[in-house]
């Protein structure tokens, strides 16, 4: 809904797989940025390519996705991003 309260967060990563600097990548090492939107009902996160030299994100280059339905899964344990049932939801949130 247009007036839905939303919170945004983001987190950077240097690579798709966990490595020594995954927690705290320095700016020049950031390759992926995880952008989240969350309401009281869901959290949707896209991990997309990030260019640290010009601070741009490429939302066509998706490295991973997360979708949690918080009413039924408040601890965020069941990622539904790849579940075909929610393809339309993913498309809308994108």
């Amino acid at each position: 809904q247009d007036n839905e309260a939303i919170a945004y967060s983001q987190y950077p990563r240097p690579a798709d797989l966990p490595q020594e600097n995954s927690d705290l990548p320095e700016l020049e090492d950031i390759k992926v940025m995880g952008y989240s939107i969350r309401s009281s009902n869901y959290r949707y996160t896209l991990w997309v390519a990030f260019n640290p030299s010009n601070f741009t994100s490429d939302f066509q280059n998706v490295h991973g996705g997360e979708l949690y339905l918080l009413q039924s899964d408040p601890r965020e344990d069941n990622n539904l991003y790849s579940n075909h049932t929610f393809a339309d939801v993913n498309k809308t949130l994108f």
């Binding site: 309260a5 939303i6 919170a7 945004y8 967060s9 983001q10 987190y11 950077p12 990563r13 690579a15 798709d16 797989l17 966990p18 490595q19 020594e20 600097n21 995954s22 927690d23 705290l24 990548p25 320095e26 700016l27 950031i30 992926v32 940025m33 995880g34 989240s36 969350r38 309401s39 009281s40 959290r43 996160t45 991990w47 601070f55 490295h63 991973g64 996705g65 997360e66 918080l70 601890r75 965020e76 344990d77 069941n78 990622n79 991003y81 790849s82």
Partner: protein, 422 residues
């Protein structure tokens, strides 16, 4: 002056920010944690059940909420740059209050130290006087934890006898003393004040007075309800919690990288010490609030209590911030506004008497206001402006790198009204 206002007509602000505090508090319905002083503040405040940081890392989060700009606008995602040089000369929350006649003061960790705040906590832009840092901060990562071998180690789990540590005190105890000293110094000032107090705990290492362990007998400690890495979690979303692996007691466990897991017995120790650190911090907050009360400032001071982000206590196999999970991004947020979230005090009444966590007759029942509306830490800047009666900064245009004063949040002051809250 109107009731509850200073001579200038504006309320004072006490801004308390905690490091790595998730919503593991009594007032957020945690069944185990003892946080009676924060719960008491909550009972006089509006409690935000769904408040979120913009990034689960200290420097980007603090820079974000203190400038009311998101990390893509501060261009700070690590700890390596100062926004005024690197992104734009954005005004900060305390700077704006200072520009509007407030005496602004910083105690402890408010801005992230180092280059992220120009090695000065953004002084003199943001503060009327040089920010205070406890002298014992330098010992936080030193070998001050007594091990079973009787030697001193740089451990993660580090309950201490305060009389035996360097200088015989701890950083947050020193910050409390300085905050109280500053409150006394501005008690009768004609100018309103904005006092920011940043506490270090429960940030790692869990170095706290050992008596707080008594509040958490090991038989009461449980593991995280979902301690495994979710099967369909993309690998890029996982963080390998490298900082705790560097502590001596964790190194000795020979945990495999990157997924671990940590032995269950040690998971319980971590959780126990996180909770004990929270109770220690709660007592420090309680001492500042009771001083505010004793000095007669509880009727004309807005109190904001929040954290820079959360921390995963074993949920999803993680032991850190560094993610987009709710446990890492959700923060406690309490706003006390005399006359709004609580009635004005009558003569002789106490609003925030100190509560000793070791002598709790029974668990307090929270009866404060709460709201479930999703809010963000970038909302703090415009909200505090509105509550204090200052002009609320305009919404930022896109992009806003050349705009010194604007907000990427929105005022949530209206949510504080009893009719808007539950």
């Amino acid at each position: 002056a109107p009731i509850g206002r200073s001579v200038s007509g504006h309320m004072n602000v006490l801004f308390i920010v905690i490091d790595d505090l998730r919503t593991t508090l009594g007032c957020y319905e945690d069944p185990l944690v003892k946080s009676p002083n924060i719960d008491q503040l909550a009972s006089r405040s509006t409690r935000f059940q769904n408040a979120f940081a913009q990034q689960a890392l200290c420097a980007p989060s603090r820079t974000s909420f203190l400038t009311s700009r998101r990390p893509d606008t501060t261009r700070l995602y690590d700890v390596g740059s100062y926004w005024r040089n690197h992104a734009g000369n954005y005004s900060t929350l305390p700077q704006y209050f200072k520009m509007n006649g407030y005496t602004t003061m910083s105690v402890g960790k408010v801005f992230h130290p180092g280059i992220a705040s120009n090695h000065s906590d953004d002084y003199p832009y943001s503060w009327s006087m040089v920010p205070y840092h406890p002298s014992t901060e330098e010992y936080e990562n030193r070998k001050t934890c007594k091990g079973k071998d009787g030697q001193l180690h740089a451990n993660l789990v580090c309950p201490v006898n305060v009389t035996e540590v360097p200088e015989g005190t701890l950083p947050d105890i020193q910050s409390t003393e300085e905050a109280i000293r500053l409150l006394k110094s501005v008690q009768n000032s004609t100018e309103p004040f904005f006092l920011a107090v940043g506490y270090h705990k429960p940030h790692i290492p869990f170095r706290y007075p050992q008596e707080f362990l008594k509040l958490y007998p090991m038989e009461n400690i449980t593991l995280a309800p979902d301690p495994d890495i979710p099967k369909r979690l993309p690998s890029v979303a996982y963080n390998p919690w490298t900082d705790i692996r560097k502590r001596e007691d964790v190194q000795a466990l020979n945990i495999s990288f990157p997924y671990g897991p940590i032995p269950k017995e040690f998971q319980l120790l971590i959780r126990q010490s996180y909770f004990a650190s929270v109770s220690y911090m709660d007592s420090q907050v309680g001492k500042v609030l009771s001083s505010l009360d004793a000095l007669g400032l509880a009727n004309n001071t807005i109190v904001v209590f929040t954290s820079d982000h959360g921390w995963s206590l074993g949920e999803h196999g993680e032991w850190a911030k560094y993610s987009n999970f709710d446990v890492a991004t959700k923060v406690p947020l309490l706003m006390y506004v005399p006359g709004l979230t609580s009635s004005f005090l009558k003569a002789g009444e106490q609003r925030f008497p100190f509560i000793d966590p070791f002598h709790l007759p029974q668990r307090q029942i929270n009866r404060g206001l709460k709201t479930n509306i999703v809010v963000e830490l970038v909302d703090l800047f415009p909200t505090l402006c509105e509550l204090a009666g200052l002009a609320v900064p305009q919404a930022c245009p896109e992009p806003s790198f050349d705009v010194e004063l604007c907000t990427q949040g929105k005022s949530i002051a209206k949510l504080l009204h009893p009719d808007a809250a539950v």
